[in-house]
C-alpha cells in the first residue's frame, strides 16, 4: 500500500484560495469579474419556490375532479390570500354554496382533474449568497454565482460545526497546549474569532456565545461535550447547518490535544486580522473540512512563515507527520524510514509501516494508514 497514508490537512502561510459562491437555483449575479468584494458583499440572489400546500377541492365542493376547473374563481396562476375563496360550487338549485378557502397566501399553481386537488404555492423564499471572503471576483457563473479569489493564510481543521462567518481573529491563550477556559474570555470578544489551545468545554462555548463571539478555533474537543452542545449524538460527520450561535473548528481531533505548533503560530500571526471561518464538515464523497481563511499580503507575513510547500508530495523520509490513531494519537514527528515489507503489528495484522522520530531520538513504528502528512 504505497499510497496508504491519509492526505493531511492544509495549513498554509500564504496561498491562493478560490471559493465558488453558487445559488441553489438559477438567479441573478450582482457583481462582475475583477470587482473587489468583502466577505459580507451579496454576490448573487434568487428566490426559491415557496412550499406547496394542497387542498382537496373536489371533496369540499362535492363535485367530480374533472369539474373542479369549472368551479375556480381564482384561475391557475392567480395570487390568493389565506382564507380567500379559490373555488366555489352551488347545489340544491343554488341555495347552498360551498367554498374552497386557500390554506395560505400564495399562488394557485395547479388543479388536478384526476384527483381534484388544488395546489397553492406559498410566496417565494429569497436566497442570497455572500462573498464569504474578502477578495476579488475572478469568474462569473451565469445565473449561478461567482468564484471569489483571495490570497493569504489558509488553515483546514479536521472537524467543525456551524456555518460560515467572519470576524477579527483573537488568540486567547498563551500557547498551543493551554486549554481555553472562561477566564480567557474577556468582554472584548464580541464579533471575534477566538483561538484557543488544546481543549474547550461546552460551558466555555456557551459563555463565548453569551459574550457574542463568532467562532472558536481549538485543538481538541470531547465527544461528550459535542453531544451536550448539539443536544444529540452526532452519527455521521455531515455538519455545517447547525444553528448554535457559534462556529467551532477543531484542528486536531477529539480529546484534549495541543494544537499543532505551526497551526497555532500561523493563527497567532493573524491576530487582529479579519478572517473568514466555516465549520462545515463532510467526511464522505466530496469531502469538506472546516477552514480559516485570512486574506493578507505576503509582505504582512513574518519572513520565516513565508515558505509555502506548494502541491502536496507523497510520503518520503523527512516528511512531517502527525499520528492519527492510538496509542500515539496527536503526536507529531518526522519520517525516518519507509520499510517496503509488511510488518506484523501487536494485533498480528501485517501492514505497511513507517518509522517515525517523535523528537525523542527513538524510532517508533506506525502503520502508514495511521499517519497524516502535515502539508504546508
Amino acid at each position: 500500500m504505497a499510497h496508504s497514508y491519509t492526505p493531511g490537512l492544509k495549513v498554509s502561510a500564504f496561498t491562493t484560495v478560490r471559493r465558488e459562491r453558487k445559488l441553489p437555483l438559477a438567479g441573478s449575479v450582482l457583481v462582475s469579474v475583477g470587482q473587489a468584494v468583502e466577505a459580507e458583499t451579496i454576490v448573487a440572489r434568487t428566490e426559491l419556490p415557496g412550499n406547496v400546500q394542497t387542498v382537496n377541492a373536489a371533496n369540499i365542493l362535492g363535485v367530480l375532479p374533472e369539474d373542479v376547473p369549472d368551479c375556480l374563481v381564482k384561475p391557475v396562476g392567480s395570487a390568493v390570500k389565506k382564507g380567500e375563496s379559490i373555488a366555489e360550487s352551488r347545489s340544491f338549485f343554488g341555495l347552498f354554496r360551498s367554498k374552497v378557502a386557500s390554506p395560505t397566501d400564495g399562488t394557485v399553481e395547479n388543479v388536478s382533474t384526476v384527483t381534484g386537488q388544488a395546489l397553492i404555492r406559498e410566496p417565494p423564499i429569497p436566497v442570497e449568497v455572500d462573498a464569504y471572503v474578502d477578495g476579488k471576483v475572478v469568474e462569473v457563473h451565469e445565473k449561478q454565482g461567482v468564484t471569489v479569489e483571495t490570497r493569504g493564510t489558509f488553515i483546514q481543521g479536521i472537524f467543525g460545526i456551524g456555518g460560515e462567518t467572519c470576524g477579527v481573529l483573537h488568540v486567547c491563550v498563551a500557547g498551543p497546549g493551554e486549554a481555553l477556559t472562561e477566564a480567557n474570555l474577556g468582554s472584548d470578544v464580541r464579533g471575534k474569532v477566538l483561538v484557543g489551545g488544546s481543549h474547550v468545554t461546552t460551558s466555555v462555548l456557551r459563555r463565548a456565545i453569551q459574550l457574542g463571539a463568532k467562532a472558536i478555533v481549538i485543538g481538541g474537543f470531547d465527544d461528550q461535550d459535542l453531544r451536550e452542545f448539539l443536544g444529540y449524538d452526532l452519527g455521521v460527520a455531515i455538519t455545517g447547518s447547525e444553528e448554535k450561535g457559534l462556529t467551532l473548528v477543531v484542528t486536531e481531533g477529539f480529546g484534549e490535544i495541543p494544537m499543532a505548533g505551526r497551526t497555532y503560530e500561523l493563527l497567532r500571526s493573524c491576530e487582529g486580522r479579519k478572517v473568514s471561518v466555516s465549520g462545515a464538515t463532510q467526511i464522505r464523497a466530496g469531502v469538506l473540512r472546516p477552514e480559516i481563511v485570512a486574506p493578507r499580503l505576503m509582505e504582512a507575513l513574518p519572513p520565516e512563515a513565508r515558505a509555502d510547500g506548494g502541491e502536496p508530495e507523497g510520503l518520503t523520509v523527512g516528511s512531517l507527520i502527525r499520528a492519527i490513531r492510538e496509542p500515539y494519537f496527536g503526536r507529531l514527528g518526522k519520517v525516518v524510514s519507509l520499510p517496503p515489507e509488511l510488518v506484523a503489528l501487536e494485533t498480528e495484522a501485517k501492514v505497511r509501516v513507517l518509522e517515525v522520530d517523535f523528537g525523542d531520538g527513538k524510532r517508533t513504528t506506525l502503520p502508514r494508514a495511521n499517519v497524516e502528512m502535515i502539508e504546508s
Partner: protein
C-alpha cells in the same frame, strides 16, 4: 469497447471502489482453471485533494503490478488486451463510493406497491432514503417538503395494478412535480425518475413529469396484486445508475470508459454471488458485507432472495452512528477490559473523522471488533424486519426478486434453518485471526442449531459478482478456490439452561476413524479442530429443554463441516442469549470465551 469472448480471456483485472478503500484483484488462467493471483488496495480518492476515483483505482492497480511483477498500466491507461506478459484481457469494476446509489421510492399503498418498489430498489443495490405513499400518514405538503429535502440520485415511482385506478398514481406524480426534486450530484442535470406502475397511468405520469425530470417508463412492478415483476425496474435502475449517477461522480466518467462491462453498484454484485451459492448448493444462506459507511445483509431462505442495506451502520464513516444507535452499554458489553466512556467516545469520533486508520494495538482491535458486533447485530435486526412476506397473496415471482408470503408480515429469516453464514467486509475479512471473525459472526447473528460459517477471504465478492455476469466459469472457480474461507461449523442448542450444568453430550467420529466424546456445559464455548475440507460425524445429545434441531432433548446425528477455525460448540444460550449483568462475571466470561477459541494473541483480562 467490446467484451472479449470468455474462452479467449487469459487475465482479468477487477476493482471495487468502496467508500474507504479501492480493491483490485488480478485473476489469471492457469492451465484449465482461473485463479486469483494477487490483490492490491489503496484509499479511495473521491475526496479532496484528488476528487477523482480513478486515482485510487490506478494506485490499487499499481500495487497489483508491484506484487504480480507484471505491467498492466501504460501511464494512466490499462493495457488491453493482454500481450505477452503485459496488460489484461478484461477490466471490470463495481462501486459504492460516494455514498452508493441513494434512491427515493414511491408507491400508492405503502405496504403493497410501496414495499414492492422498495424491494426493487434494494435488489438493484440502492439505499432507500424514504418510501412515499398515499397512505403513509403524512399530509401532502409534508411529503412535498420531504421530497425536496432528500435530493436522491434517482426516484422510482410505482403504484396500482395494471387496469386499476389511476387517480392515486396521478396524485403521487403531482406531488413529485410540485416538489420539483433536484438530483444529489451535479446541478445541471435532470433527476432520473423511473415509472413502473399501472400502465394505464403512463400518459398521466408523462404529462406531469416528463418536462421536469428525466422520466423513463418501464413495466409495472406489480402488474397484478398476486405477482411482482421487479426485474425490468431493477434493470432500468442499473442503466440509469450508469448513465446519470456514476457519470456525475468525480472521475467516474473516465472510469466508465476503461471497462466494456457496466460498473455495477457493489451490493448488487455481492447479491449476485450470494444467490449463486444458495442456488448451486440448495441451501439457506445469510451473507453480510460490513463496509465503512453501510452494512448490507443478504439472505436466501427457501430459494427466496432478500437484501437490505443499513445506510448508516459501518466501521468508519458511520462508526459514530453505531454508537448512537446501539448505545454505549451495548458496545461496552463486548469489551473484556475496563475503558471509560469518555475515552471510548473520543476514540470512536476520531475514527469517524479519520476513517482510513487501522487498529495498531490489541486493545484498539478489540474495541473495533466490539463495535462491529453491534453494527452487524443492528443491520441483521433491520434485515429481519424488512424481509417479510406480502400480505396474504399468492406469489409467482423469480428467485431474485421476491419474498415468501405464506404468512402475513412474518420474517422469512429463520436462524434455525440457516445453513451457511458468510461474512464479508474489512473488519471480518481482515481480522488477523479467523477465529475473531467466527466469534464476531456468532455473537452478532446468534445462529441456532447447526450452521456453517465462512468469510470472504480478502473481500472480493463484489468483483466476482460482476464477473459472474460476463464469465461465470471464472467467477465460480475463483470463488470456490480463492474467495470463500470456510471457518467451520457451529452447533448451538436453543433454550434456557443453568450456567456450568452440562448442556450437550457429543460423540464425534473423525475422518481417520478416531472417536472422541465430550460434554459442553451451558454458558461455555468448546472448539474441536476439524481442518478445512474435512468433516466429522457427530451424535449431538442436548439436555432436556435444549434443542439442536431434532426437538427438545432429542439427539441429532449430523455431519459437521470443518474449517480453518474448526467446529464450535456454542452453549452460551439461544433464546435467550445474554451476557452476565455483573461486571466482574461478564469480564471473566468474555475472557473465557476468547480463550476457548484462542481469539487473541494474549489473554486479554480485566
Amino acid at each position: 469497447m467490446t467484451i472479449p469472448k470468455p474462452e479467449s480471456i487469459q487475465s482479468i483485472l477487477a476493482t471495487d471502489c468502496g467508500s474507504t478503500t479501492t480493491k483490485a484483484i488480478l485473476i489469471e488462467r492457469r492451465g484449465d482453471e482461473y485463479r486469483l493471483i494477487v490483490r492490491g488496495e489503496a484509499p479511495t480518492t473521491v475526496e479532496a485533494p484528488f476528487e477523482d476515483v480513478t486515482r485510487g483505482v490506478l494506485n490499487a492497480i499499481m500495487e497489483v503490478e508491484e506484487l504480480a511483477g507484471r505491467k498492466i498500466l501504460d501511464g494512466e491507461r490499462i493495457i488491453t488486451p493482454q500481450s505477452g506478459t503485459q496488460g489484461v484481457d478484461l477490466y471490470i469494476s463495481t462501486s459504492s463510493a460516494g455514498g452508493g446509489l441513494q434512491m427515493m421510492v414511491s408507491g400508492v399503498v405503502k405496504s403493497m406497491t410501496g414495499e414492492s418498489a422498495q424491494r426493487a430498489a434494494l435488489g438493484a443495490g440502492a439505499i432507500v432514503m424514504d418510501v412515499i405513499a398515499s397512505n403513509d400518514g403524512r399530509l401532502p405538503h409534508q411529503k412535498i417538503k420531504r421530497i425536496r429535502q432528500l435530493r436522491p440520485d434517482m426516484i422510482l415511482l410505482s403504484g396500482g395494478v395494471d387496469g386499476g385506478t389511476t387517480s392515486h398514481v396521478a396524485e403521487m406524480a403531482e406531488l413529485l412535480a410540485a416538489a420539483d426534486p433536484k438530483a444529489r450530484l451535479g446541478a445541471g442535470y435532470e433527476l432520473p425518475v423511473i415509472y413502473a406502475g399501472n400502465k394505464d397511468a403512463r400518459k398521466i405520469v408523462e404529462e406531469r413529469l416528463a418536462h421536469k425530470t428525466a422520466l423513463k417508463i418501464t413495466d409495472n412492478l406489480r402488474p397484478v396484486l398476486e405477482r411482482e415483476n421487479l426485474t425490468p425496474a431493477r434493470d432500468m435502475i442499473h442503466d440509469l445508475f450508469m448513465e446519470h449517477v456514476m457519470a456525475h461522480a468525480p472521475g467516474y466518467k473516465k472510469l466508465m470508459t476503461w471497462s466494456p462491462v457496466p460498473i455495477m453498484p457493489t451490493p448488487g454484485a455481492v447479491g449476485l454471488i450470494i444467490e449463486t451459492i444458495a442456488r448451486e448448493e440448495s441451501i439457506s444462506v445469510v451473507g453480510v458485507d460490513i463496509g465503512g459507511a453501510t452494512t448490507d445483509v443478504f439472505s436466501v431462505f427457501q430459494g427466496v432472495f432478500n437484501r437490505t442495506v443499513s445506510a448508516n451502520l459501518g466501521m468508519s464513516y458511520s462508526v459514530s452512528n453505531v454508537l448512537a444507535e446501539a448505545g454505549l452499554p451495548n458496545i461496552l458489553r463486548w469489551v473484556p477490559f475496563e475503558i471509560s466512556e469518555h475515552d471510548l467516545r473520543n476514540r470512536i469520533k476520531n475514527k469517524m473523522i479519520r476513517p482510513t486508520t487501522i487498529p495498531q494495538t490489541l486493545e484498539e482491535l478489540i474495541i473495533e471488533q466490539a463495535i462491529s458486533r453491534e453494527a452487524l447485530r443492528l443491520a441483521f435486526e433491520q434485515h429481519k424486519a424488512l424481509a417479510v412476506g406480502l400480505k396474504g397473496v399468492q406469489q409467482e415471482r423469480t428467485i431474485s426478486d421476491t419474498f415468501e408470503q405464506t404468512a402475513s408480515g412474518e420474517t422469512l429469516v429463520r436462524l434455525d434453518h440457516l445453513d451457511l453464514l458468510v461474512g464479508s467486509g474489512g473488519v471480518l475479512s481482515h481480522a488477523p485471526r479467523r477465529a475473531q471473525a467466527a466469534l464476531m459472526l456468532l455473537d452478532a447473528f446468534l445462529p441456532e442449531h447447526v450452521t456453517e460459517l465462512a468469510v470472504d477471504s480478502i473481500f472480493m465478492m463484489p468483483q466476482l459478482g460482476v464477473l459472474s455476469t460476463v464469465h461465470p466459469k471464472a467467477a465460480k472457480e475463483v470463488f470456490e478456490k480463492d474467495c470463500l474461507i470456510r471457518l467451520g461449523s457451529s452447533v448451538a442448542p436453543v433454550g434456557p439452561g443453568k450456567d456450568g450444568v452440562t448442556a450437550l453430550r457429543v460423540s464425534l467420529e473423525f475422518h481417520d476413524g478416531r472417536r472422541e466424546t465430550l460434554s459442553v456445559p451451558y454458558g461455555y464455548l468448546k472448539l474441536v479442530a476439524v481442518p478445512e475440507g474435512q468433516t466429522v460425524k457427530a451424535a449431538v445429545s442436548p439436555e432436556r429443554g435444549l434443542d439442536v434441531g431434532a426437538g427438545k432433548g432429542r439427539e441429532r446425528e449430523v455431519t459437521l463441516k470443518g474449517g480453518v477455525v474448526g467446529v464450535i460448540f456454542d452453549c452460551r444460550g439461544r433464546q435467550p442469549f445474554s451476557l452476565p449483568a455483573d461486571r466482574e462475571r461478564r469480564l471473566s466470561k468474555l475472557t473465557e470465551w476468547n480463550d476457548a477459541l484462542d481469539v487473541y494473541p494474549v489473554a486479554v483480562r480485566a
